[in-house]
Amino acid sequence: MAEHKGLNLTLKVWRQANRQAQGRFVEYKVENISTEASFLEMMDILNEQLINTADPDGPVAFDHDCREGICGMCSLFINGRGHGPDDQITTCQLHMRKFKDGDKITIEPWRSGGFPIIKDLMVDRTAYDKIMQAGGFVSVSTGGVPDANAIPISKIDADEAMDAAACIGCGCCAATCKNGSAMLFVSAKVSQLALLPQGKIEAARRAKAMVAKMDELGFGNCTNTGACELECPKSVSISHIARLNREYIIANIKD
């Protein structure tokens, strides 16, 4: 393990009491943070400090759960980047060794029309669930399905489907996008299921239903900047957006 170092940091944190309230930045100081600590552990220390000093705003609210980069619950825009200044990881996997003593760290919530702020750094991402409910599934019920090996699937397709399926639904794509577009998220599911024979059957219906729901919820239009792909903690490729476009256009032409 690398050597421990204590960091003294200034945190510029977005505080907002609720959805309607006016938010603002508040600066806090934290001291002697180990470079071995994770970013969220640093936030825990800050919160312990705020509890002990009976801060009027109380501890900072932020979403997190598994703390191993897979549940997709943590978010945060740290120094201007979704999931912070390291690539291909979520905020919970970010470690303090990425920062220097004396740094000022700006911590903001996802800011996107589709993700209203609940409190402080916590946002409402139920829009993603709603898009999934519109069509992000294969319409099979439990039981009565064929043997798992009945339909061979090319390894290449299965691998590409897995690349898309790696999406953790954290919302970083829409939060990073200058257009507030959820296309990377939607395309990951559409693409995964369109690549597999069992999902292909209702691919057209799925693409139309999910895009319609995405539009209805007010997400923006993709302009292919590619920022989503670069910030995605799971490196989901924008090539899936091309597949979604293709599926959607063909589905509409066939109608």
Partner: protein
């Protein structure tokens, strides 16, 4: 003891489940619409149960504390899921999977349940493939398998290192479909606070909306708890931060028996703790033990130098390295079961041979694998794990050996259920990690996912119907006007007021950390009568302290994370004691439970004469000793043996 009827159907082992299904009662489709079912938790068991029951026509209400059902901690499982498909043609069968699971569980699981689990395992894979789960495949297009600890066949299906994620997203998509169709009413960010009992049956739950703080109650004809394990009693574990044992504890207090709470699995390959501020431990997949060699220095002075950072692992010559698992267990070497590997690591560290400053690590070295296979092959097999390790520790495992240490990972114990997954409360079912049923005293790798989905997709949809067959004429109750619901809500509100009114000066986390310390030191990998008695005493004291000095800032209305944590820790403080009590009474070593008094040259010694039963505890009141009920385990179809990992047979 009389009322512990496990309701195992008659007949040969192979026919039991078929017989059950053929003779059970069903609910007519028109009546299904009149029946409400509550599912608490949306992990593999909960999501799959909610989706399957809704598909059948029941009206389902599902609850989770996360912001979306897709976040449940099943998502973090890496390795894979077992099934007896025997696609690789290596001699696997339903019986062999059943046998391995019983043996791996050190003969403390119920035969009929485990056989059913093995029986439906193939259906799970079929179901998941049909849902579009992208399992790994061979170039020929068929499904790939790999081997896992505790088995002699390759029966594990996987989706890279993210099998749990893919299976959960499959169940989540099925659940989403039902939510979209209006058959499931989903309640995110909602915590179950209590059960509602009407005339001796479970008829609903009281919940707290985590965003608004609102206390509500919900009616259902039956309730399913799929709320996962209680590993977070130990504060540091591989569980998610929010994983808790509260739903199980609320059920326990309402009369559900809690079975085998001391059966806790400690996983040997986790990244060691590095500081007091640490919030959780990260698991490194067990598959690393296939090619990595575990060692500590032979000489104490080398270990001391390592601890002081004066030398590095590479400075120690091969002849000065003690490959303790290979030397002690020649037949299995580094691949001994999880409990054995964990205990040996602890033994070496306690003896002063730990290799890091905090004295809680052993080496897992890939130097030899790289020499034998080449860096490319090692990278192909473990690249993503190595990358994860490097991100967390800032050390390159290709150059320096990994440091690992055991950590709490899974809880085999849980709410006692019969063959139908029904608890001792009529109308209350428990599924997945929340129940105790299938893993005995130790769970094999890649079996947790199998059990969660088996319960949700293929067991509960049948057994719940058996219970509901005469319930359709019970009219829906309005929680707003039914006195039992109003009373339950009132009690929950009073409980929250009680928590808020403590107004002490100690944060919830600091108390939780102290509980974790007590648990880890006294009820961890090696337990003794003395340590357990100490633990019971200390936990009771800490519990009193909690109710005197816990500090919860903010108000009970609206989002209050500290209040959520306090509610969970209050339950952990009782659960911790229950674990210790169970461990104290079980004067044998089996699976994850190791009593130092019951050992043979440091090896676990089971006592089948006295302890071949499930210990189910009945709640008797706050600060009262619970009452033990025993469910004897009869092995009719399998020969009970001693686990032996030293010789080949």
């Amino acid at each position: 003891m009389a009322n512990l009827d496990s309701k195992i159907p008659e007949g040969d082992l192979k026919d039991k489940w078929t017989n059950y299904k053929e003779h059970q009662h069903l609910v007519n489709p028109a009546n299904k619409r009149k029946i409400d079912i509550i599912v608490v938790g949306t992990g593999l068991a909960g999501a799959s149960a909610a989706a399957s029951l809704a598909e059948m026509g029941f009206k389902v209400k599902a609850f989770c504390y996360q912001d979306s059902p897709r976040r449940a901690h099943s998502i973090a499982a890496q390795g894979g899921i077992n099934a007896a498909h025997n696609y690789p043609n290596d001699g696997d069968s339903v019986y062999r999977l059943f046998y391995d699971t019983i043996k791996g569980g050190d003969y403390r699981a119920r035969e009929a349940n485990v056989y059913r689990l093995a029986e439906v395992s193939n259906l799970i894979i079929d179901q998941c493939v049909a849902q579009g789960v992208p399992f790994a495949r061979e170039y020929g297009g068929l499904l790939a398998n790999r081997s896992f600890g505790g088995a002699l066949v390759s029966r594990t299906f996987y989706a890279r290192g993210q099998t749990g994620q893919q299976l959960l997203l499959g169940a989540y998509s099925a659940l989403s479909r039902q939510i979209g169709l209006g058959n499931v009413e989903m309640h995110n960010r909602t915590e179950m606070m209590d059960l509602v009992m009407v005339d001796g049956r479970c008829r609903g739950i009281v919940t707290r909306n985590l965003l608004t703080g609102e206390i509500e109650s919900h009616f259902a004809h039956c309730v399913i708890l799929a709320t996962g394990g209680y590993g977070n009693v130990y504060f540091l574990s591989t569980n998610a931060m929010g994983s808790n044992g509260s739903a199980a504890m609320k059920a326990y207090r309402k009369g559900a028996y809690f079975a085998n709470p001391c059966m806790v699995q400690i996983h040997p390959t986790c990244i060691p703790q590095h500081g007091d501020y640490q919030s959780k431990l990260t698991l490194m997949s067990e598959s690393l033990r296939n090619d990595g060699r575990i060692w500590v220095p032979k000489k104490k002075e080398d270990a001391e130098k390592l601890q002081k950072g004066l030398i590095k692992a590479s400075d120690i010559k091969d002849e000065d390295r003690y490959f303790y698992l290979e030397e002690r267990y020649p037949a299995f070497g580094n691949l001994v079961p999880r409990d054995v590997a964990s205990r040996n690591a602890k033994e070496r560290c306690d003896a002063g041979y730990a290799v890091n400053a905090t004295q809680n690590a052993v080496f897992l070295d890939f130097k030899y694998a790289i020499e034998r296979l080449g860096k490319d092959v090692v990278e192909q097999r473990y690249g993503n794990l190595f990358q994860m390790y490097q991100k967390i520790t800032d050390t390159d495992p290709y150059k320096e050996p990994m440091m690992i240490y055991p950590a709490i990972h899974y809880t085999m114990g849980g709410i006692w259920v019969d063959y139908e997954l029904s608890t001792t409360i009529p109308g209350l079912f428990a599924a997945g990690e929340a129940n105790f049923s299938d893993h005995g005293a130790n769970r094999l790798g890649a079996s947790a996912l199998m059990q969660g989905l088996a319960d949700g997709y293929f067991v509960l949809p049948y057994t719940v119907q058996e219970y509901l067959a005469d319930q359709f004429n019970v009219a829906r109750m309005d929680p707003k006007t039914t006195p039992e619901f109003q009373q339950a809500e009132k009690e929950v509100k009073e409980y929250i007021d009680k928590l808020m009114n403590v107004k002490g000066n100690e944060s919830v986390d600091s108390i939780h950390k102290r509980l974790g310390q007590i648990m880890w030191n006294n009820v961890g990998m090696a337990r003794s009568k003395e340590s357990l008695e100490t633990a019971i005493k200390e936990i009771a004291a800490l519990r009193d302290e909690f109710w005197k000095s816990v500090k919860i800032p903010g108000s009970k209305d609206g989002l209050n994370v500290e209040l959520e944590k306090a509610n969970r820790v209050a339950d952990f403080l009782e659960l911790g004691e229950l674990i210790a009590r169970d461990a104290l009474h079980r004067e044998e070593s089996c699976g994850g439970h190791f009593r130092v008094e019951s050992s043979d040259n440091g090896e676990a010694k089971r006592d089948d004469e006295k302890f071949m039963y499930v210990g189910a505890w009945e709640y008797k009141g706050y600060n009262q000793a619970p009452e033990l009920h025993k469910e004897p385990l009869n092995y009719e179809f399998i020969k009970v043996q001693t686990r032996n990992y030293k010789t080949g047979k």
